[in-house]
């Protein structure tokens, strides 16, 4: 398999556009996923019966094949970026919801008791004690959701979106391997870079975990 380097040189603008579009779809989905899963996770954590229902529901959504989700959304949002983002968001919810609930569960009871006994009200305890302490587990979920979304964006090629995924169909239809290889490499680089940034972000956000005795 030979790589046609001149093709890459001729298409740098297109590749940049596709990469940015790819990244935008994935990150928007993760961001929406975090915004939706956070309140749901808090509810699931506080209200036991709701927990089984929400986690079960998100599992069911996860079993729907990704192409099917996009097809099912077509009557609602058509061949648009919106469809791509909604589809991806649904998938991030499974990971994010589960990890956020687990993160909140992992906060030591003693510490929550202490916060209450000092006279901290529930909302403030959630924001200043529970969420910070749950952060490492939540961030683990965000990392998985991000990498997963970056890889899934390509599937949206079938509805005319798909960022770097367009390179796969292009290369496949023309029996021309270069775009396919370039697409794979760029997707991988995006995933690795995004993950590294998230690790760095977590390091900055959790100073108490740096010098473990």
């Amino acid at each position: 398999m030979n790589i046609d380097w001149s093709w890459i040189g001729d298409h740098t603008d297109d590749l940049t556009t596709l990469t940015l579009s790819h990244l935008q779809a994935a990150l928007t989905a993760v961001l929406l996923g975090v915004l939706i899963s956070l309140p749901l996770a808090v509810l699931a954590h506080r209200i036991r019966p709701l927990r089984g229902f929400l986690l079960g529901l998100s599992n069911v959504l996860f079993t729907i094949p990704s192409i099917a989700i996009f097809v099912l959304l077509l009557p609602v949002s058509g061949l648009t970026r919106t469809t791509t983002v909604i589809g991806l968001t649904v998938y991030t919810l499974v990971v994010l919801l589960r990890n956020t609930v687990e993160g909140l569960d992992s906060v030591p009871v003693k510490v929550k008791e202490a916060a209450k006994a000092m006279g901290t009200r529930p909302l403030r305890t959630l924001l200043t004690v529970e969420l910070p302490l749950a952060l490492p587990v939540i961030m683990a979920g965000v990392r998985i959701a991000t990498v997963m979304s970056i890889s899934l964006v390509s599937v949206a090629t079938y509805i005319g979106d798909g960022g770097l995924g367009q390179l796969f169909t292009d290369g496949f239809q023309r029996n021309f391997p270069t775009p396919v290889i370039v697409g794979v490499v760029l997707t991988l680089l995006l995933a690795v870079a995004a993950d590294a940034l998230l690790v760095a972000l977590q390091y900055v956000l959790t100073p108490w975990r740096r010098r473990r005795a």
Binding site: P108, K110, V111, E113, A114, A115, K116, A117, M118, G119, T120, R121, R124, V129, P132, L133, T206, W208, R211, R212, A213
Partner: protein, 344 residues
């Protein structure tokens, strides 16, 4: 002052944790709640700051019914020290201590300077301020817990087995520190422990609980040791309760005489006049010189160990002031018991 009136607590699972409790916790004193696990002592403590709500009866702090106050505000006005400190792992030591002042709306700068002041009060080095709790030893964490409870200068302090998780040496240090602080601050302290010696050491009054949440006896330690209300209390205080009573009395008013000269045993002093050991021509026996503030129990222990039956007494600088005989110590021990029984 904290007042319990006919307080009852039954949990949802049907167990009675506290049974018809009426108890008065005097202002500015240490009241220790003791009893084996499951006797309701911790539940009693936690009802004061509404971490647990009573099923019936009333609890008043400073004359005000606790259930009629906003729970969060009530808790901010009551210091709480938890077993194993319960510090916030994600906050620096300084910010842990500043917790309640910040909740009360103090500026960050004022809260932190107050916190720094308190770290010094509880005997922590200033460089501990910027560390995280997991970087401290158990004893240091416990000190931070005490500093955090004191931060907003609450009149009432609740302490739930605060020194339960540290080794005996550190525990004694922390107890000494608490007694020293209490002399300065005169807080109304409610202290929960299952350790009788700790209760006797710290308490101005001791409340003994029996399984099922019954308060059996509440009295000052000397009275409790001299006149336990029933076999349960006597058994709980242990077979050596007579000796424990001696730990409450000091050596101050026990007479002393000049050290004897020319016997078989000589009391050997260093150049400054500090006693070193007892000696004959060919043996040496170590000794423990005692100060006026030491307990009768320590004196009895030393007089039993001393080859002459004499206990060396020293001043604050460790210089010999005289010796006290075993007989004098025993006589005062007997008198301590008689007085405790009569005053009871």
């Amino acid at each position: 002052m904290i007042q319990f009136d006919a307080v009852h607590k039954r949990f949802a699972n049907g167990t009675t944790a506290v049974h018809d409790l009426s108890l008065r916790v005097p202002e500015g004193g240490v009241t220790v709640l003791v009893g084996s696990s499951g006797c309701g002592k911790t539940t009693t403590l936690r009802m004061i700051n509404r971490m647990v709500e009573p099923t019936s009866g009333t609890i008043r702090v400073g004359g005000k019914d606790v259930t009629e106050q906003d729970a969060a505000e009530l808790r901010r006005s009551i210091g709480y020290v938890i077993q194993q400190a319960g510090l916030f792992p994600h906050r620096t030591v300084l910010d842990n201590v500043a917790t309640v002042p910040l909740l009360l709306g103090w500026s960050r700068r004022r809260a932190r300077s107050r916190a720094a002041e308190l770290l010094e009060t509880v005997g922590l080095a200033p460089d501990a301020a910027r560390r995280y709790p997991h970087q401290l030893s158990g004893g240091q964490q416990q000190r931070v817990g005490v500093a955090r409870a004191l931060a907003a200068d609450p009149p009432v302090l609740l302490m739930d087995e605060p020194f339960g998780a540290v080794d005996p040496v550190v525990r004694t240090q922390l107890q000494d520190e608490l007694l020293r602080l209490q002399k300065e601050l005169s807080k109304t302290i409610v202290f929960v422990t299952h350790d009788v010696d700790e209760a006797v050491r710290l308490g101005d009054q001791i409340a003994i609980f029996r399984t099922g949440g019954h308060l059996v006896q509440c009295a000052p330690p000397a009275e409790l040791l001299a006149r336990p209300a029933d076999d349960f209390v006597a058994g709980f205080l242990g077979a050596e309760r007579g000796l424990k009573l001696l730990s409450l009395r000091t050596l101050a008013d026990v007479p002393q005489a000049p050290a004897p000269q020319g016997g078989t045993w000589t009391l050997v002093l260093d150049e400054a006049g500090r006693p070193l050991h007892w000696a004959t021509r060919d043996t040496e026996v170590p000794l423990r010189p005692l100060r006026d503030g030491d307990s009768l129990l320590a004196a009895l222990d030393e007089s039993v160990a001393s080859p002459t039956g004499l206990t060396a007494r020293v001043d604050a600088d460790g210089v010999l002031t005289g010796v006290t005989s075993r007989d004098d110590i025993l006589r005062h021990a007997g008198r301590a018991h008689t007085e405790a029984r009569v005053s009871a």
